[in-house]
């Protein structure tokens, strides 16, 4: 598959997908990770490896793509990808959540290069993404905005304000990725994608472990409105 959007240059001694679990082990001390701890791993990796136009050497490039980790908890996979892609030094992973470390259990944009938003309280990221996307439009930037959320996070009502606003304002440069690991307390009868579709979003549902499926969905053309990609992980297929 053509990787037209990848900015990954292999000259930086980048680590590869196979290295991510080792990097995560440095933070967690576990050899084997639970499904929940790695629920975002394949989506975040595919974004940074194949989709996002971002470069650790051009963190302030106004035309870069923005990745907002709205679901800020369980950020080990995110930190591992940032380390693998050269945004942070893999050596700092070992200090994860210690007093001297910039890496906490929820990411802080003011302390970590390449982290676009500080998150942790669920339901903040999508509205931030709308504001960022509106700004990029006003500035005629080439940048796009990708917001990663969780199906449990969707329980927060603030998301439903934001889903309606993004759909109704037709924000084409915005993509929401919802990691669906069935963690919503009361569930989403009819499916998560339908909540976005009814508000005018284009929607795709993919296997959240299949990189080709994730990439294909995230690069779907959606000029007139936002795109929601539901990435299912841990589902009994």
């Amino acid at each position: 598959m053509a990787r037209t959007h990848s900015t990954a240059t292999r000259t930086r001694n980048e680590l590869d997908y196979g290295d991510l679990r080792v990097l995560m082990s440095v933070m967690t001390g576990d050899e084997k990770h639970s499904e929940a701890a790695t629920s975002t791993l394949d989506v975040v990796w595919t974004l940074y490896d194949r989709v996002l136009r971002v470069d650790p050497d051009r963190l302030e490039d106004p035309d870069r793509d923005r990745f907002f980790l709205s679901k800020g908890h369980g950020p080990m996979a995110y930190y591992a990808v940032l380390a693998a892609k050269g945004f942070i030094d893999p050596a700092i992973l070992a200090g994860f959540s210690t007093a001297e470390s910039p890496l906490g259990h929820h990411p802080d944009r003011r302390r970590i290069p390449g982290v676009e938003i500080s998150s942790g309280s669920l339901g903040q990221g999508l509205a931030l993404g709308i504001g960022s996307a509106l700004a990029l439009g006003l500035s005629c930037s080439a940048g796009r905005v990708f917001v990663l959320m969780g199906d449990g996070e969707l329980d927060e009502g603030s998301n439903h304000e934001a889903i309606a606003v993004a759909g109704r304002l037709g924000i084409g440069r915005l993509t929401a990725v919802v990691i669906d690991n069935q963690s919503s307390t009361l569930g989403w009868p009819g499916g998560i994608a339908s909540r976005f579709a009814v508000e005018g979003w284009a929607t795709r549902v993919v296997d959240g472990r299949n990189h080709d499926e994730i990439e294909h969905a995230l690069t779907t053309t959606h000029i007139d409105g936002p795109l929601a990609v539901v990435a299912e992980v841990g589902r009994k297929r």
């Binding site: 309280s121 339901g123 903040q124 504001g131 960022s132 509106l134 304000e161 109704r168």
Partner: protein
């Protein structure tokens, strides 16, 4: 009656949109109709998200992340209280800034009742680091505050009100001015924003000194220290009583002074009528202030 603060806000915000391509107004339905006559060149920077205040602040935060300067306006409780966590996290915690402008305050929405009143706003906003809180006393002061806020690189909360003093302060926002000089032994009264005229009326015939500020936080500590007289200072604040005492106490912490506050003691006061009548029911018209000043006992919120 001079131009209302709310009308002045619309005019000045439109001016700022015209003059600064990074200016953006974010609304949640309320106030959108007042911008319908805005020039077409600025329409794309007036964003109405509908009645969704969490989204309103979040969208403002996203715009600010990209270098825009959001001006966000709504009714006091729907601007400050309902989306308070978004103000804390989607603005302050992100390290980005905005100008938040509220209307309604403590008693302007007198017939609407408690749901549309937020005398707690100054206290609540005072819990967040780095915010400058403006309580302008006239439309001219409101304009000054909005322009100063927009040109700054920090966060500002501007509390507009229906009440206005007859004259504006002859100073930049926040600079403490002396409205009335009493004797060296009389009390000092610090009037915040639009209660200044009622304070001046209430102290007629006394030897009180009256100071004025339209920025209760951060307080002009040097100005306060230079102009306070006597051994007692009374803060008169048109919102929850005591909200502005901490910065005043800190500014005067090395002096043996008694500090009192007069403000809204009962936000649940069930009372309709005109704003003037509701303000009087809160005891913050000239008659109420005169009684409270003479009473000499500190108030606390009930």
């Amino acid at each position: 009656m001079s131009e209302t603060m709310r009308d002045r806000f619309t005019n000045v915000a439109t001016d700022l949109l015209l003059a600064d391509k990074k200016a953006v107004v974010v609304l949640a339905a309320l106030g959108a109709s007042s911008f319908t006559d805005a020039p077409s060149t600025v329409r794309s920077r007036i964003i109405d998200v509908g009645i969704r205040e969490q989204a309103m602040i979040g969208v403002a935060g996203g715009l600010a992340l990209e270098g825009f300067r959001p001006i966000v306006m709504s009714y006091t409780p729907f601007l400050v209280e309902r989306p308070f966590e978004q103000i804390k996290l989607s603005l302050t915690h992100q390290g980005v800034h905005a100008t938040l402008v509220s209307i309604g305050g403590s008693w302007d929405a007198s017939t609407e009742g408690r749901t549309h009143q937020a005398p707690e706003d100054v206290a609540v906003m005072s819990t967040l680091p780095g915010w400058t809180i403006h309580v302008p006393g006239t439309s001219d002061e409101a304009e000054q505050a909005l322009r100063l806020a927009h040109d700054s690189a920090t966060s500002h909360y501007i509390r507009l009100s229906g009440d206005q003093n007859a004259a504006s302060a002859h100073a930049q926002p926040g600079v403490i001015t002396i409205l009335r000089r009493g004797s060296d032994h009389g009390m000092t009264v610090l009037a915040v924003g639009p209660v200044a005229d009622a304070v001046l009326e209430a102290v007629e015939g006394t030897d009180a000194t009256v100071l004025y500020t339209n920025v209760p936080r951060p307080i002009d500590a040097d100005g306060l220290r230079a102009s306070v007289v006597g051994s007692e200072i009374v803060v008169v604040e048109p919102y929850l009583v005591g909200s502005s005492v901490p910065p005043v106490a800190a500014a005067l912490s090395d002096r043996p002074m008694r500090i009192r506050a007069i403000g809204v003691t009962n936000p649940e006061l069930a009372h309709y009528g005109t704003p003037r009548e509701l303000r009087a029911a809160h005891g913050l018209d000239a008659d109420g202030l005169r009684a409270a000043l003479e009473h000499g006992i500190a108030q606390i919120a009930s």
